[in-house]
Structures are given as structure tokens and as C-alpha cells.
């Protein structure tokens, strides 16, 4: 199986690039003290470079090869027409600091997308600047902080975070200088409303609430939850990672959320890129709009028609990154919304939720279901039954690989033991869902009759059961040239 590092392919004098000769007279060189003496980069020929990367890519599971039910990540199909549109030179070859009159197409696209996202989520304004969901969280929490301080509310230094929350939530609150107060979940998997009522006070800045929740459930108490926080003088931040379940079925803005982040690389089909780039726009109610990061795109009516400009909201929290936003991702999300329209988006939610409930119905006998109720677009099973037989959720996940599936999210949320979070998305066929269900049922049977085959999985991958303890105890985070010389 192909296994070389770039540095092991390298040989002196090789290169994969061509450059024209210098066409201007040479200038005086820089003084020696500024210059480097060696540039230790590999030297690889183009054919070897291409083979290297193509063969590497073949070692990956991806949506385009495999069912990828990673809960909370919404691994839906990435439409290829969006890829084509995103490659037009008029989008690719523009500089963010060009005069605005030369990028009206790009600014219009951003303005429209701001509006679409606000409309879809029942909010009044949006920023497209944040580069990822966590970045959007930080943006939203900083906006809440600015809003409260503007009103003289310096004493509000606590952010309430459910114990089921994604790790980015408390990490974000801490980054924004807040104390994190955890709120437990109740027996039904919903937020413990009594605990929330006891926790809110005049020190509450905000509640960070994911809806649908990280358990894939629609917390029916949502209106009381948001009202409880508002009554105490706090705001409600919405983690919109699970927006895929409710497109066209409910708007977060109608449920009492003041601010929401959206993951374009989840709900709006932009590719995950092996870990990014994503994009995390934030939509807000009018009272938070003045605090949006700068710049936002505005439209002015002139006698020659509409003109799009970049503008700074009057009480902006400032920038959260350089330039305007992850435009290449925005283009794809825009194209997706234009392709689907309102009815297409509603169908997305309907099918995402149906697919998840269908899989749940097929699996709930064989696996422990901690919260036996209707799920939304994803659901959480527990491997505790199999654990009693010596088979852990980790083993189940690895065995799924043998059956040709990417494992679901495991060991999250933290409040479920041996958790398996499954999100099929709407872009999978019934046949695929049935095949996955069959595999999960087969593994449950194997756990009883031949657990060893599950515990020793996966069996056919290029590497198996990597030693993560060693990787953490003796970190090797870059290639070593001496070792490379040995392998070459």
C-alpha cells in the first residue's frame, strides 16, 4: 500500500513548476543579514506529486464515496453545479480591496445571501464574516457582551450552557470572558427547566441553546426557556448547527432567539473540505444589528439603480477576521439556496427528519435508546448493551468500516454513555439507509455471537487501530529528515 511522505519522494533538482525568466533588470540584492542561507523544501516532479496526492486521497472515506452519518455534521451531498459556479473567474479572481464599483456582482451576492439567511431563520440582519461555526459563536457572544455593556449592564458575567452542549459553546463563552454555568438536562433529554429557572439571575448575560438539541430532539419547552432568560434580563444565543432539521418548519427568530449562527458547510451543502473551509454566518434580531462585525453589505438606491457597498454598523464589535468573509463558501451556499427555493428547503428538512426517524425505528430494538421519543434529523443511541458483552462503541464504529460505512459520531454528547450519534441527512436513498441498518443489526448480533470480530475491527484498511496514546505521549508533529533518508 502506497506510503511515502513528500520528503521521501524528493530528489535534488526535481521540480513541478515552470516560470518565465525574469523580464526586468535585477535590482541591488538585499543585505546578507536579511537573507536565508538554506531553503529546505522537498523537490518533487509533477508526475510524482500528482500520484502522491491522488493515492493519498484514495485512502479517505468521503461523502462522494461512502455513507457518512456523522451526527451533528450534516454530511449531505455537495452539488456539483455549485462547484462549477464557484469557479467562474469573476468570483475567483477578485481582490477584496478592489474599488467597490468593480465588484458589484460579488457584493450583490453577499447582500442577497445576508437577506436569505435572515429570512430563513426569522431574523432581521446578518453578518457573513465568521469563518466557521465556532467563529460565529464567538461573534454572537461578543455582540451580546457589547449590547449589555452599552446598557450599563456590566454585572452580567455568566453564560448558561447546557451539559449536552458541543464543546465549542463553553470554550467560546470563556474566550469572551464569561463564566460558564452548566445547566443539566432532564430525564427526557430536554433542558431541565427548573434548573434553568434557579440559575438565571441579574448576572445572566445569555443562555447558549442548541435547537434541535445535540441529542437530536426538539425541546418542546423552548418558548418557556427563552422567556425565562429574557425575563431575567439575559439574551438567548442559538447554536444553529442542527438547522437542517427545521428549514421551513420553524424559524429560530419566532422562538425567542436573539442571535443564531449557521454552519454553511452543514445545512447549506458547501463541502466540508476535510476539515474546512466552512463558514459561520450569524443572523440577529434588530436590537443586535448595530453590533454586527464590520463590514456588512448594504444596498443604496441611486438614480442609476441599486448600488452595493460595504458598511460599518454604528456600534460594531469590530472585525473578527481579515476581509469580508469566506467568499468561496458563500458563493456555493447562495447557489444552493437559489437552486432549492422555499419548497426545496422545506423538503430538505422533511426528508432529513424522516430519514432519521426511519433509521431510528429500524435500530431501536437492537441498541439502547436513552430517550425514547420522536427524533429530528439525528438521534443518539447508546452502546451500553453491547458494552456488557465487552464490545464498546469504539469497536462498533470500527466494525462499521468493514461494512463500508463511515462511522457515526461517537462519545458525544457527553451526557450519554457510549454514545453513537447518527445523522443520515436527506440526500441518502432508502436503499442506503437499509444497508446501513442491516450492518448495524449484524454488528449487534456479532457482539453477542462473535465479539472478537468486532473488537479487532477494522480489518481491511491500510492501517488499523492506531496508537493514539503514543502519539500524545511522544508527539511527532513533523517529518524528520534523517528518518526520511532511511525510508527513501
Amino acid at each position: 500500500m502506497y506510503d511515502k511522505l513528500l520528503v521521501e519522494l524528493s530528489a535534488p533538482g526535481r521540480r513541478a513548476v515552470s516560470l518565465p525568466p525574469l523580464d526586468v533588470p535585477e535590482a541591488e540584492p538585499l543585505p546578507e543579514e536579511y537573507l536565508r542561507s538554506e531553503l529546505p523544501l522537498p523537490e518533487v516532479a509533477e508526475i510524482d506529486l500528482v500520484r502522491h496526492y491522488v493515492r493519498l486521497s484514495q485512502k479517505n472515506f468521503a461523502i462522494d464515496t461512502t455513507f457518512y452519518p456523522l451526527g451533528s455534521c450534516t454530511m449531505k451531498y455537495n452539488p456539483k453545479v455549485n462547484e462549477e459556479a464557484a469557479r467562474f473567474p469573476g468570483f475567483v479572481q477578485i481582490h477584496p480591496l478592489q474599488p467597490e464599483e468593480t465588484v458589484q456582482g460579488a457584493l450583490e451576492l453577499m447582500w442577497e445571501l445576508q437577506n436569505y439567511l435572515a429570512e430563513i431563520t426569522g431574523m432581521d440582519a446578518a453578518t457573513l464574516q465568521p469563518a466557521a461555526g465556532a467563529h460565529g459563536e464567538l461573534t454572537g457572544i461578543l455582540m451580546i457582551r457589547a449590547y449589555l455593556r452599552d446598557r450599563g449592564e456590566y454585572g452580567r458575567d455568566e453564560v448558561l450552557v447546557p451539559d449536552s452542549a458541543h464543546g465549542t459553546n463553553p470554550a467560546t463563552a470563556a474566550m469572551a470572558g464569561f463564566k460558564v454555568v452548566p445547566i443539566p438536562s432532564d430525564r427526557n433529554g430536554d433542558l431541565d427547566l427548573d434548573a434553568l429557572r434557579r440559575a438565571v439571575s441579574d448576572r445572566t448575560a445569555a443562555l447558549m441553546f442548541t435547537l434541535p438539541t445535540t441529542l437530536g430532539l426538539f425541546d418542546p419547552q423552548v418558548l418557556e426557556i427563552t422567556e425565562t432568560v429574557h425575563r431575567a434580563g439575559g439574551l438567548v444565543y442559538g447554536d444553529g448547527a442542527n438547522l437542517n432539521a427545521v428549514l421551513g418548519r420553524v424559524k429560530h427568530g419566532d422562538l425567542g432567539f436573539d442571535v443564531l449562527h449557521i454552519n454553511l458547510h452543514k445545512t447549506f451543502s458547501t463541502p466540508h473540505g476535510a476539515g474546512g473551509p466552512g463558514s459561520g454566518p450569524v443572523t440577529v434580531k434588530a436590537h443586535l444589528a448595530p453590533y454586527l462585525p464590520a463590514p456588512v453589505v448594504v444596498r443604496e438606491e441611486t438614480e442609476n439603480g441599486p448600488v452595493y457597498r460595504l458598511a460599518r454598523p454604528e456600534k460594531s464589535i469590530g472585525r473578527v477576521r481579515s476581509f469580508h468573509g469566506s467568499f468561496n463558501v458563500l458563493v456555493r451556499a447562495y447557489a444552493y439556496i437559489r437552486s432549492l427555493g422555499a419548497e426545496g428547503l422545506r423538503e430538505v428538512a422533511d426528508n432529513a427528519v424522516l430519514n432519521a426517524n426511519y433509521l431510528l425505528a429500524r435500530l431501536k430494538e437492537a441498541y439502547h435508546l436513552p430517550y425514547d421519543r420522536r427524533c429530528m434529523h439525528e438521534f443518539v443511541l447508546s452502546g451500553v448493551r453491547q458494552e456488557r458483552l465487552g464490545v464498546k462503541t469504539l469497536d462498533i464504529a470500527k466494525r462499521l468500516i468493514d461494512y463500508g460505512f463511515h462511522p457515526p459520531t461517537i462519545y458525544f454528547p457527553l451526557i450519554v454513555k457510549e454514545a453513537l450519534m447518527i445523522e443520515p441527512t436527506e440526500t441518502e436513498s432508502r436503499e442506503t439507509l437499509d444497508a446501513f441498518a442491516e450492518a448495524m443489526l449484524a454488528i449487534a448480533r456479532e457482539a453477542e455471537t462473535e465479539p472478537q470480530v468486532v473488537k479487532s475491527a477494522p480489518h481491511h484498511t491500510p492501517v488499523r487501530r492506531l496508537d493514539e496514546a503514543r502519539a500524545a505521549r511522544q508527539p511527532v508533529l513533523r517529518w524528520q529528515r534523517a528518518e526520511a533518508a532511511g525510508q527513501a
Binding site: 462519545y411 493514539e468 496514546a469 500524545a472 505521549r473
Partner: protein, 126 residues
């Protein structure tokens, strides 16, 4: 097998006192729950630790846990081997995987701790 010659906290630390010096570590139950230990973050010698307050952290591949002092006193020695061999905590939590030696300030504090039998009950192996 929970050693009888020492006392325990509810947070799974043990303490064994020899001539006024308290040796501190974590229990076998704790190391099993944690998984492969990759890093232990301990205070410097000379630091004063206080009973039931956080004195450090222990990391496995997938988890981080706080370490709580079973007794108060000045840290006089830190296990020098844990830096390069954190796996000692897994292999030998009661012996080679010891973490701190503390000059015991107040022997009465030991009364606040669990006996081996009480600890056994606490973790449900009674």
C-alpha cells in the same frame, strides 16, 4: 484490590503517610476510567496544596481530569519519572505511579478522608 494502608478521596486520589510525609497518587479505578495517561500536570516543589483543592491535571488521549489534594502541605517532591513515562500511572497507580510527596500540615485532616472499605463502597465494588 484496594490497598488498606492508605486513605482515599471521593475524587479517587489516595494518600499514604510515612513519617509525616504524605505520598499522593490516583487509584486503580481512576486510571481505568481515564484510559491511557499521556500527561500529568503537577505543581512545582515548594508549592502549598490545600485539602480538596485542585493541584493539577491528568490527561488521557480523550479526557482531562482535575487532581484534588487529599491533604494540605508543602510539596517536597514530585515524581520525576512521570514526565517521560506517564504510563506508570496506568501500570502501577499505587506504587511507581505516585505523583507528589507533601509535608503533612495537619494529621487531623486524614479524618476527612475515606478508608479503603468506604472507598470501595463509593465506587460500587463493596
Amino acid at each position: 484490590m484496594i490497598p488498606e494502608d492508605r486513605k482515599y478521596t471521593r475524587e479517587h486520589e489516595w494518600v499514604k503517610v510515612e513519617d509525616g510525609v504524605a505520598v499522593v497518587g490516583i487509584t486503580d479505578y481512576a486510571q481505568r476510567e481515564l484510559g491511557d495517561v499521556v500527561f500529568v500536570n503537577l505543581p512545582a516543589t515548594g508549592t502549598r496544596v490545600k485539602q480538596f483543592e485542585r493541584f493539577g491535571e491528568i490527561e488521557s488521549v480523550k479526557a482531562v481530569s482535575d487532581l484534588y489534594a487529599p491533604v494540605s502541605g508543602e510539596v517536597i517532591e514530585v515524581n520525576p519519572r512521570l514526565g517521560s513515562e506517564p504510563e506508570l500511572v496506568n501500570r502501577s497507580p499505587y506504587e511507581e505511579g505516585w505523583m507528589l510527596k507533601v509535608r503533612l500540615e495537619d494529621p487531623a485532616e486524614l479524618d476527612n478522608l475515606l478508608t479503603a472499605e468506604e472507598y470501595r463502597q463509593h465506587i460500587g465494588e463493596g
